[in-house]
């Protein structure tokens, strides 16, 4: 089990236990985390799974590819630690991961 903490736009936190191999977006959708929609089912075609990755973890993730970067560039509220959560695949090494829902 991999622990993931979602910080909501209102400041509240929710920590969930998820299975390795899932994307953070899928976990969020399954757990009804407000602000993460995943309209395109993880195909980098919508941008509705936008999160800010906690600085402690951002460097541990593989860098975004060309397509993800292009989509991120078009999002409102883009920051240096913005990611599409559908592209973050959970593994045991990422247990404790903390992301903030961008809500945009």
């Amino acid at each position: 089990m991999v622990e993931v903490t979602f910080v909501l736009p209102n400041g509240q936190s929710r920590t969930v236990a998820a299975a390795a191999g899932q994307s953070v977006m899928q976990v969020a959708v399954d757990e009804n985390i407000v602000g993460i929609q995943g309209d395109c089912g993880g195909n980098m075609s919508c941008g509705t799974c936008h999160v800010y990755v906690d600085e402690a973890w951002a460097a541990q993730l593989p860098a975004p590819g060309e397509v993800e970067s292009a989509v991120l560039d078009g999002l409102i509220g883009q920051r240096a630690n913005s990611r599409l959560s559908c592209q973050i695949k959970l593994s045991a090494a990422l247990s404790g991961l903390k992301v903030t829902v961008a809500g945009s």
Binding site: S45, C46, D73, G74, L75, Q78
Partner: protein
């Protein structure tokens, strides 16, 4: 509209999965296309074969549509058609009729001006357009909503987005109506050709005088190190026009009909305009109206059902968005749902590229309409007439207030 003839049932289709459903005539029959599609859950297998329109499978469940749309290698967007007569005319609309990886390359170009960062800049202009349209009816005691509001708004929004000459908008509306409202494909062609000819002249004009508008952006773009051809840019402009036109018109119209029938919801949204974004999502779920084709690329199995290469699958986004397996009491419009899971904008890589713009148009529409128009209802003599096919629609919507 008369029902299409029946094709023979292919050998690989078991009789138990056959249900006679003409996605054109039957969708329109009662004037309430979403109700007809939702009723398929009661009348037909989840994934059934109809002999109409050349023979096609129809998917009606949320989970199944997610699977189909998430597997473009098996279920291709190329070579699709809604009925066999469409095979005669090849209209290229990239990237809608492309599969990944090519699809992705063109899709990213569209996102240059359809991304949230760009769309948000249009808010003021869209609100001004909406205000102008409402000005034209606010002093009256009713209107035909489509002609007055829901057809012109997306046409003018599109023209604004593309930096076109808005003074020609009536002509555009005529072409739009010609393309969308005509029953037969041969009736639609003259309007399509006129629109295409205009788009061509627009592309040529931008070649001579490039700006920061989408057409200029596309002309300056590259795919795989090569500049787009004029023809490719034109085809993408055609897609943009068609993609954002009757879809937004129909969303606005179906939503307004639902509100006209529910004074309580009107009152609630007037008193709580901050709930409009959530209401837009729940409305979209309930009135989803598009049917999306895919072509099977090789012999395969889907949920244990044998499919043959080149079988056509139509996914009913109305049925899938009103699936009681994914939403409780789907027929109820309930703004308090914690989530309104739907596929009104489809899902997968071809998830609507204009969704952000559509949501913006719908939010602004509801904000302005509810602010300025008194409590409204369906006109006493209103009788719903609908259209089926790829994009289901109402033909007109008479309101009174």
């Amino acid at each position: 509209m008369a029902k299409q003839t029946q094709a023979a049932i292919p050998a690989h289709v078991p009789a138990s999965l056959v249900y006679d459903f003409d996605i054109y005539a039957d969708s329109a029959r009662t004037g309430d296309p979403q109700a007809v599609h939702m009723d398929l859950h009661n009348k037909a297998p989840d994934f059934f074969f109809t002999p109409r329109n050349g023979g096609q499978w129809i998917a009606t469940r949320y989970a199944d549509v997610q699977k189909i749309m998430g597997a473009p290698d098996l279920f291709s967007s190329s070579g699709t058609y809604f009925n066999p007569s469409q095979k005669l005319i090849k209209i290229s609309l990239p990237p809608q009729d492309l599969d990944p990886p090519d699809h992705t390359k063109y899709r990213l170009l569209l996102m240059k001006f359809l991304a949230p960062k760009m769309v948000v800049q249009l808010e003021g202009q869209i609100r001004a357009l909406m205000t102008e349209l409402i000005d034209s009816v606010v002093q009256k005691d009713g209107c035909e909503f489509m002609a007055a509001i829901s057809v012109p708004l997306p046409v003018k929004t599109f023209m604004t987005l593309m930096g076109m000459d808005i003074s020609r908008y009536r002509e555009f509306v005529k072409w739009a109506n010609g393309m969308l409202a005509s029953e037969h494909w041969w009736q639609r062609l003259p309007s399509f050709w006129r629109m295409r000819r205009y788009m061509k002249s627009l592309v040529v004009a931008r070649e001579k005088n490039p700006g920061t508008d989408p057409v200029s952006l596309l002309l300056a773009s590259e795919v795989d190190g090569k500049k787009l051809t004029r023809s490719q840019v034109q085809d993408m402009c055609n897609l943009l026009f068609l993609g954002g036109l009757d879809t937004v018109t129909n969303a606005m119209t179906f939503i307004t009909k639902a509100l006209a029938e529910d004074p309580e919801k009107q009152r609630f949204l007037r008193e709580n305009p901050d709930r409009i974004p959530a209401a837009v999502e729940e409305f979209l779920r309930r009135v989803a109206f598009a049917n999306i084709p895919r072509r099977v690329t090789r012999d395969t199995e889907f949920n244990g059902i044998k499919l043959r290469k080149d079988d056509m699958i139509i996914s009913s986004l109305a049925a899938a968005s009103n699936d009681d397996r994914s939403v409780e009491h789907p027929e109820k419009i309930d703004f308090d749902r914690p989530k309104s899971p739907h596929v009104a904008f489809n899902t997968g890589p071809h998830n609507c590229a204009g969704a952000t713009l559509a949501r913006l148009e719908l939010r602004i529409f509801l904000e302005e309409w509810l602010k300025r128009i008194p409590p409204f209802r369906l006109a006493p003599d209103f009788h719903a007439e609908a259209r089926g096919g790829p994009v289901m629609a109402l033909e007109h919507l008479e309101l009174s207030w």
